[in-house]
């Protein structure tokens, strides 16, 4: 077996599921934000869970920055992997205050192994006003910020984010995105960011990995990928109604308003999205 590459995340997993088979052999850079992009049910979350060790995939291999986390005869359990994981839905401990939530992972890492420090994380994520509160007092966006802070304070060498904004409404997303931008600029560790939202990928990702039906469809620099992505993304929608000169479309369960489109309510449309320049 080859020695793992010191500056790469190497992952090989094959998982058979009812509706798809995840079959990937990845070599990802161990810096910057890599977006795992693809439609729901293409295996993004399964891949992320396998990397975290939350899903034990027999026969899988995984090495992060030269450290073997899983191979034929090794399986490091999740709590011994230096990773941070941000879940789609809130995962704060309801019985602990925001402060105790933030401290939870930090306390479990020896002081001399901590790479990210309390003050910086609190500052980057604007958590200072929330620290004395209880999780149930927070808004959805605030909760996700705390969850990100909590993951960072455990000084991970790899941050895994599973659609962290998907459960939030538009205004909460708008509130949290600037913080993620900040992280992007300051974090030295690699981030795997699962998303099916092009806007997030466009704004945050350095690298892009497109998954389709459990297989890698494309991988490379995000800028190149988005151009392809733009050409490739087509959505079917249908007209819901016309309101005050706007046309309301329903697109994959979401509502989209466009300046008046020439179509009748109920008509099916095809939307094509391209990145400009």
């Amino acid at each position: 077996m080859n020695a793992p590459h010191p500056n790469r995340i190497e992952a090989r997993f094959r998982v058979a599921r009812e509706n798809f088979t995840l079959d990937v052999d990845l070599h990802l850079p161990d810096r910057g934000i890599t977006a795992l992009f693809g439609p729901s049910g293409c295996g993004k979350t399964t891949l992320l869970r396998a990397i975290a060790g939350l899903e034990r995939v027999p026969g899988g291999r995984l090495a992060v920055s030269g450290e073997r986390w899983q191979d034929a005869d090794t399986f490091i359990p999740p709590h011994r992997r230096a990773l941070g994981y941000v879940f789609q839905e809130t995962s704060l401990f309801p019985h602990l205050s925001v402060r105790r939530n933030l401290e939870y992972g930090m306390k479990r890492v020896p002081e001399n192994e901590r790479t990210l420090h309390w003050d910086e994380v609190i500052d980057w994520l604007g958590l200072a006003p929330l620290i004395r509160q209880q999780p149930h007092q927070l808004s959805g966006g605030q909760r996700q910020r705390v969850a990100i802070g909590r993951a960072l304070l455990s000084s991970p060498r790899l941050l895994l984010m599973d659609e962290p904004l998907a459960a939030l409404d538009a205004s909460a997303r708008a509130e949290i995105l600037p913080y993620l931008d900040q992280l992007h600029q300051r974090l030295a560790i690699p981030v795997l960011y699962v998303s099916h939202a092009v806007e997030e990928v466009a704004r945050l990702a350095d690298h892009l990995l497109c998954l389709e039906a459990g297989r890698v469809a494309w991988q490379g620099e995000a800028a190149d990928g988005l151009a392809r992505l733009g050409a490739a993304t087509e959505h079917s929608a249908h007209v819901v109604a016309h309101e005050d000169g706007w046309t309301v479309l329903e697109i994959e369960g979401q509502t989209l308003r466009l300046p008046c489109v020439d179509a009748k309510p109920g008509d099916a449309l095809r939307l094509r999205i391209e990145r400009s320049a």
Binding site: F93, H95, V109, A151, S154
Partner: protein, 225 residues
């Protein structure tokens, strides 16, 4: 209301029994409940059914089997004899063993419900924050399930206090050893000592009411067994 020394002895014995049984059940019932709440094993249904058996079995059935298995010809009896602690029927520890079986579902079921409602996500989050399985249990699962522990403890304690049939079958009615309050009341009634029976019965009635009042006041949903 005055209780005779014999009645007091029975009350104290009953409370001792219930306290010890509840402590043992916490240690024994927690892993069982945890396993039942989280496993996908094909054994989940059979084991769950065995744990729930005392809910439907008449105490006399349990008492009868315990008397046979813990007796000198039963395998438990031969084991306890072999390791030098003698036979369990007619002893306080025999009652403890019987009560642990009898009250097991009252410990396991509330705990299982509490553990089931924990949610996989919370525990996974703790795992990704460097908490080992045991650490996760004590720092996350147990505190969140604390109300379940309270309910389970109170129900197990109260149910042991109210036990009668099994004790009658294997206790042998020995003062200070196996003559618990419920048996003492039965004896008073049989001996036509209604006054004494009333006094002791009132003590148990008030006690049971207070326990349930506490439970219902503090957790109105607790008794949805």
């Amino acid at each position: 209301m005055m209780l005779s020394p014999g009645d007091w002895q029975a009350v104290v014995l009953t409370l001792e029994l219930a306290a010890i049984v509840t402590l043992i059940l916490f240690v024994l019932g927690t892993p069982i409940a945890w396993w039942l709440a989280r496993t996908h094993s094909k054994w989940k249904a059979p084991i769950g059914a065995v744990v729930a058996l005392p809910l439907v079995l008449p105490p006399s059935v349990l008492g009868f089997y315990l008397l046979l298995t813990m007796g000198p010809n039963g395998w438990v009896g031969q084991f306890t004899n072999a390791i030098g602690i003698g036979l369990l029927p007619f002893t306080f520890w025999g009652l403890v063993v019987a009560s642990v079986f009898y009250s097991l579902p009252f410990m396991v079921q509330p705990l299982q419900t509490a553990f089931e409602s924990l949610g996989e996500r919370t525990l996974e989050a703790a795992a990704t924050l460097r908490a080992s399985p045991l650490d996760r249990f004590f720092s996350v699962a147990a505190p969140i399930a604390l109300p379940g522990f309270m309910t389970a403890g109170i129900l197990s304690f109260a149910h042991t206090v109210g036990e009668f049939g099994v004790v009658l079958m294997i206790g042998g009615n020995i003062p200070g050893e196996t003559r618990v309050a419920s048996v003492q009341i039965f004896d008073h009634v049989e001996a036509l000592q209604y006054g004494e029976a009333h006094d002791l019965a009132a003590v148990l009635l008030v006690f049971s009411f207070l326990v349930l009042l506490l439970l219902y006041t503090w957790r109105p949903k607790a008794l949805r067994l």
